[in-house]
């Protein structure tokens, strides 16, 4: 694996994108790497375009923003439009996004899954669990430990993570067919 991983998480306010970025960055940090997490958001706490970027690197991170993403998670149509031209792996929420054309896009029903777990706020744990199956930018086991610590062993998050892994495995199969 190359020594610098770049992730973009994009959607709208209220989808837990910033917290998701923090969780990824903390995992990278716990692996002894340098990390930077940045965000871009509007004035609304709920709704409006919002994104969170994470860089994980063995070396010093000089420019703090993502230039060449390894993976993009897209949770809104607006975000899809913004990242439509990227040829890197795009994971999108099939409940919210019509992906357009390209064999780099893989959709899973994150929103529905979160509702089914009875905890819409767990969507970020689900998509991160999924993402790490496809692109292990950090060690999934270490990620699980960070989630565990952060939310004090909340059983809901454990389930959300399992669901994410499940969806990730499903996408992996789809990917293999590409």
């Amino acid at each position: 694996m190359k020594n610098r991983q770049e992730v973009i998480l994009a959607g709208s306010g209220g989808q837990g994108l910033i917290m998701a970025g923090i969780l990824l960055a903390e995992t990278g940090m716990n692996e002894g790497k340098n990390v930077v997490q940045t965000q871009s958001y509007g004035i609304a706490s709920r709704g409006g375009f919002s994104s969170s970027e994470v860089i994980i690197s063995d070396d010093e991170i000089i420019f703090q923003h993502v230039e060449d993403p390894d993976v993009i998670v897209v949770l809104s149509q607006e975000a899809m439009q913004i990242y439509d031209g990227f040829d890197t792996t795009i994971i999108y929420d099939s409940d919210l996004v019509t992906p357009g054309k390209g064999n780099n896009r893989f959709g899973a029903p994150f929103t529905k899954a979160a509702f089914e777990l009875g905890n819409p706020a767990s969507i970020n744990i689900i998509f991160l669990g999924c993402l790490l199956q496809l692109k292990p930018v950090v060690d999934p086991a270490k990620f699980a430990a960070v989630v565990d610590k952060k939310f004090k062993s909340n059983r809901n998050n454990e389930k959300a993570l399992q669901k994410g892994v499940e969806l990730g495995n499903m996408l992996k199969e789809a990917m293999a067919k590409c």
Binding site: A25, M29, N34, V35, I43, I62, F63
Partner: protein, 380 residues
Amino acid sequence: MDRTPRLVQGNQAIAAAAIYAGARFFAGYPITPSSEIAEECSKKLPKVGGMYMQMEDEIASVGAMVGAALTGSKAFTATSGPGFSLMQENIGMATIGEVPCVIINVQRSGPSTGLATKPSQSDLMQIKWGRHGDQAIIALAPASVAECFALTVKAFNLAEKFRTPVILAADEIVAHMRENFIEPLPGELEVIDRKKPSGPPAQYRPFEPSEDMVSPLAAYGSEYVFHITSSMCGPEGYSNNDPANATWKIKQLHEKIAMHRDEIVETKTFDADEAQLDILLIAFGGTTRVARAAALKLRQEGVKAGVLQLVTVWPFADLEVLKYGSKAKTVVIPEMNYSGQIADEVKRVLGPAADIRRVNKYNGEVITPQDILQVVKQSN
């Protein structure tokens, strides 16, 4: 002590550093993108015997900060552009009263409410000249979470040492960025406290002329009784309209900064030590790292490019800009404003013949290394 890194946001690092530097009083008014500083202070200060006060506006915030500072406390506030505009009145009061205090201005896009959540670096002249009357000010600009911490401590040290308000000119980029960071242990960074009077209380004068232009400052409630005024005052702190006194006082306010410039002005260089450079990028705050990334890309293409980071924005690093700028064929200044507030300063120092190029972005988006490369490659 825990030496494992933590993921820390710039604003959190600023709050932690203030407490590290001995600050125990915060008075402020929440405003994006500085509010996390207020939130951190409201949680942490009461635990260390300090106080968080949320005032009715930013005018009152600076008033309360100055009042607290005069009781001997290290005091500070945090804001962003619109609030900083309101603070100017009483920052002037802190300047003429020579009251140590720190003002954090997390710059955002303007004018007025502007793009409230987006970064900008367009308050440099407001920081320098925003108050009426002629005065010198100190401003520092951090480029990383680690610098948010280190420069906040430095801001308090300079404020205390030189009895003056110091501005931490952060921007939304560094304030909201999270990085792995290990907080320094107590004692690891120098912490300076203000000079206190030691002579007989009856003879104490709060503005006693002294060789280093900084006189000791007593605290309200001590055995030293004193008077501070927003009016032009003599050494004893009472208003004084004598032209000779005003000449002395205004000169002293400027010279106490000028004569200590070597202690105040801090710059960093990256790959700028060769005798000749093709490109020198001069950058500060959040755009420093963009400049460094662009310089590395240029180096890969065989262009001799280096970076001069203005850690201290005011007073301006004339000597360093001259030293590094005059050995470069082209000087490029990326800054997140329209007018080129720092580029104009560089031009003043290097003269009209210098090849100075500006990279300006003012739409709330961060300058990228590509933006810089594009300007460098034009007509090269």
